[in-house]
């Protein structure tokens, strides 16, 4: 039996469900499935410009595994571009890290539910000195 796949931690899911080519010759040339963790790897390495070691720690996997996920992401996107395929994002083996904040005045930890994302103050002391922490 193969080893169990560890879940890859990620900060937030992609803000889209997929990308579709337009102006392509054939209407339906299929799609590639981009896993959430592949999107995350690409984002950390090429958008946030992190090195692989830092990025792998953030996602809770080894550097080698990170490199494999990242490579898979690049290959899928390249395939989609060359073969004008649609990209669909699927959940994969990710687990979403909820956003935990810490207040630097009274040191409480708290979450901000999605409908109130604009509220950026501490729920206890109303201080605005809050910071994102990534609690497992």
């Amino acid at each position: 039996m193969p080893r169990r796949r560890r879940l890859r931690r990620m900060v937030s899911p992609p803000g889209f469900k997929g990308y579709r080519p337009y102006g392509a010759n054939s209407d339906d040339s299929g799609y590639v499935e981009l896993l959430y963790e592949e999107y995350e790897a690409l984002k950390l390495a090429d958008y946030n410009l992190m090195n692989h070691l830092e990025a792998s720690k953030l996602m809770g996997v080894s550097r080698a595994t990170f490199a494999r996920i990242y490579e898979s992401a690049r290959r899928k996107i390249a395939q989609a571009l060359v073969e004008s395929k649609e990209i669909k994002t699927v959940y994969g083996n990710a687990h979403l890290d909820k956003d935990w904040y810490v207040c630097n005045d009274c040191y409480v930890r708290f979450t901000i539910p999605r409908p109130h994302r604009h509220r950026h103050h501490c729920p206890m002391c109303k201080s605005e000195k809050i910071e994102l922490v990534n609690q497992k």
């Binding site: 409480v108 930890r109 708290f110 979450t111 539910p113 999605r114 109130h116 729920p123």
Partner: protein, 104 residues
């Protein structure tokens, strides 16, 4: 807006309870009127699923914020799903009254 503070007893002078699902009592504070109500936790000594049942109770009460010492993984996921804000206080030796005073 209703806030729940986990408590070890049924009065504002009681010690704050650092557990969520197995807290002894819940103090429901109405932030507009400042009134408090206390509910005993029926899942205090539950074998399992205390967190889940407690979240159900929170949803029933229409709570939007929960203040406790820690939340289990199931409780965290559920509270997140119902858009209930979680607040973790790690201080020892605080009473429910201290917490209420801090919110205001």
């Amino acid at each position: 807006m209703k806030t729940v503070i986990t408590s070890t007893g049924n009065g504002v002078n009681s010690q704050f309870d650092k557990r969520f699902g197995r807290a002894a009592w819940f103090c429901v504070l109405d932030e507009e009127t400042g009134k408090t109500e206390f509910y005993e936790n029926p899942n205090k000594d539950a074998q399992g699923g205390a967190g889940t049942k407690t979240v159900e109770k929170m949803v029933e009460l229409g709570v939007s914020k929960v203040i406790s010492g820690d939340f289990g993984p199931k409780a965290k996921d559920l509270l997140d799903k119902f858009n209930i804000q979680m607040v973790i206080i790690q201080d020892d030796d605080v009473t429910v009254e201290d917490v209420i005073r801090k919110i205001k």
